[in-house]
Every structure is written in C-alpha cells, then in structure tokens.
C-alpha cells in the first residue's frame, strides 16, 4: 500500500523543497519506489533543486488536464534508482489544480510507487491545500523562529480539518515535526528556540533536526539533493530522519549539541569560518 507524504510549513523559505528533494532521494536510496511532486504551480523549483530543470517537457498540470500522460511527464532521476520527479507548471496559476484532477493523478501514481512525496507551496491557498488534501502523512518543516512556529501550528489546524481524512472522519493525517536551520550555538546562548521549546509548543512527534549548514546552499548550487552529500551534517541528519520515518523511531538525534573540535582543528578552521561569516 503506497503512502502519500506532504512536506508543508505554511511559511515560505523554511526548507520545504530542500526537504522534499532530500527526503524523496533518501526513501529511494532505501529501495522504496518514490515519486516527488512539485505543487508550486507558477513557481516551479523542485526541478532545479533536483538538477533536472533542463529535462522538463510536460508537467503536473498537463497530466491533470490530460494533455500528457503520466509517463510523458515523469522524469527519471539520473543519480538515484527508484526515483521520479513530477515537475510543476511554470505558466499556469494555482487554480489549475482541482481536487478531482489531483486525486486522479495520485491514484495513478499509487499503482507505481511506494511513496508519493508532495512538495507544498508556501501559504494556505489552492496549491498548498491540494498538496495536503490526499495526504496520509505530513512532515511539518519548521524553523526555530516565531513566525515559522506560528504558521506551522496554523497548518496543523488545517491538516486536522481540511484534508480528505478529516472530511471523511478517517484516521487523522499522521504528523511529524522536522526542525530545520537549527543552530546549537545560538540555542545555548539563549538566542534561538530549542528543540524542546518547539516540541512543547507544537506538541507533535519530532522526526528530525537539520542543522544550519553550508552544505544546503552548496547542494542547491549543484542541483544535487543535500542527502547525497554524505559527509555533510545536514545530509546525515536527513538520512537519520528517513531512517526514523521508515521505522527506526528510537534512532538518537545528532547535531543538537555544539561540535567539540580538537585543538588543531580549532586553530586551522578558525580563519576559514571567519572568512565565511
């Protein structure tokens, strides 16, 4: 039985597309047949993060409108097996998506894939509502920052009332918190909400904590999901989150504490960090 996962947040710029790309790639690396869909009609960006922007011919809206078949629109990932991308349209507007149309495409995808990852646009308009409507599971991407946490809570309210599961009184959409752009240093000096603070306020289970990391920009520059950068902290944190998602729920969280550097590394890395800052 396939599962529909929505990556959502309410607020923009918190890391939904980064997470969608990393998470879908992570699932595929674990031998799950995975497709990732961009629901941000008019502002397509998943393709460029996944590095397949030059291979887009048909898009999600074309399939919804039956102007192209699903197989024509699906892009097979070149780096990872078992992974496909369904890009958003760049020319239409959000109203191009309808409940019926999206439902029909998702039903077709259910036949081929184990996991259908829906990359939601920011906001709470049509695109975002469509991305979450059919979801079985939601990953709420949140930054440790007031506006993001507040918007996440708003999204939790909508997940509990405006999804198919809510409307049909079925088992509610399963919710997971993914805290991104976390900086243990700033948490320690009292400048940033801690994991515990955000968990307490939102009161949903924590799937993972992704540290603030230079690897994320580097990955997007290269069009390669950050999870493929196995050396990076963010890549490893995403990998852990996928592992937890697939059942190993007690896998400990890493990168919550300040890294302890050896004396030599501290001396030699100092100048580099100063440059970067």
């Amino acid at each position: 039985m396939s599962q529909i996962i929505v990556i959502t947040s309410g607020k923009g710029g918190v890391g939904k597309t980064t997470t969608s790309a990393a998470f879908a790639t992570g699932l595929a690396l674990q031998n799950c047949k995975t497709v990732v869909i961009d629901f941000d009609v008019g502002l397509r960006n998943l393709d460029i993060i996944m590095g397949c922007e030059r291979r887009v011919v048909y898009d999600f809206v074309n399939v919804v409108n039956e102007e192209a078949t699903l197989n024509q629109a699906l892009i097979k990932d070149k780096k990872v097996d078992n992974l496909h991308i369904l890009p958003a349209s760049q020319t239409r507007d959000k109203e191009a998506l309808t409940k019926e149309g999206v439902g029909r495409v998702l039903d077709q995808l259910r036949e081929k894939f184990d996991y259908i990852v829906c990359d939601s646009p920011a906001g709470i308009e049509t695109g975002a509502l469509m991305a979450m409507y059919y979801a079985d599971t939601a990953i709420i991407v949140t930054n440790p920052e007031v506006s993001s946490v507040r918007d996440s809570d708003r999204i939790l309210g909508i997940l509990g009332s405006k999804t198919r599961r809510a409307e049909n009184n079925e088992e509610p959409v399963k919710e997971h918190l993914l805290l991104t752009r976390y900086s243990p240093v700033r948490v320690q000096i009292g400048e940033m909400l801690s994991v515990e603070d955000v968990k307490e306020i939102l009161a949903i289970p924590l799937l993972g904590v992704i540290p603030e990391s230079k690897a994320v920009l580097r990955a997007s520059n290269m069009g390669s999901p950050v999870i493929l950068d196995e050396e990076s902290d963010a890549g490893q944190a995403y990998k852990d989150a996928v592992t937890r998602f697939l059942g190993e729920t007690d896998l400990p969280h890493r990168f919550l504490e300040i890294k302890k550097k050896g004396l030599l590394r501290r001396i030699f890395s100092k100048s580099r960090e100063e440059q970067a800052a």
């Binding site: 946490v149 309210g157 320690q188 000096i189 009292g190 400048e191 909400l193 801690s194 603070d197 306020i201």
Partner: protein
C-alpha cells in the same frame, strides 16, 4: 544560562519568543475550534437584544467554551443602568 546574559541581567530572547508563542498559539487554537457561524450568531443576538433594550453593542460578549464532552455557549450582556 550564559554568563554574559546573566551579567547583563537580560532575559534571553529565546524565552521571550517561547512565551509569546505560547500565548498567541493557545489563543489561535481556541479560535480555530469555534464554528464559523459564531460571529453571525453574536450579531443576531445583539440585534434582538437591541430591539428591546438600549445597549452598547460593544458591551456584549459571546463565548463558546469547550469542557470535556460538552460545550458552553456563554452570553454576557452589560446592561446600562437607565435601561432597567
């Protein structure tokens, strides 16, 4: 707590953020559970009362509270002295 913050006797901004969030989110959650018809209901109740008694429309509060398996619709009207 961090020593510098302690010396400055300043509350860490993160704890201010947490308190503000807890207040606004609990307020918004309470609103979220209210049915859509509540504002209309409030308006109509006020109109009916205003037909008989001269009241200040701001002096009427309609509240819906959830307690266990039941909800309480609470109506609070401040009557002006001269109305009675």
């Amino acid at each position: 707590m961090n020593l510098i913050n302690f010396l400055r006797k300043r509350k860490p901004s993160a704890s201010i953020a947490k308190e503000r969030l807890q207040i606004i989110i609990s307020h918004e959650r309470a609103q979220r559970n209210n049915p859509d018809f509540l504002p209309q209901l409030q308006k109509e109740i006020v109109d009916v009362i205003a037909k008989y008694i001269a009241i200040d429309k701001d002096q009427v509060k309609v509240n819906l509270d959830h307690a266990g398996d039941h909800a309480v619709l609470e109506l609070n009207v401040m009557m002006p002295e001269e109305a009675l």
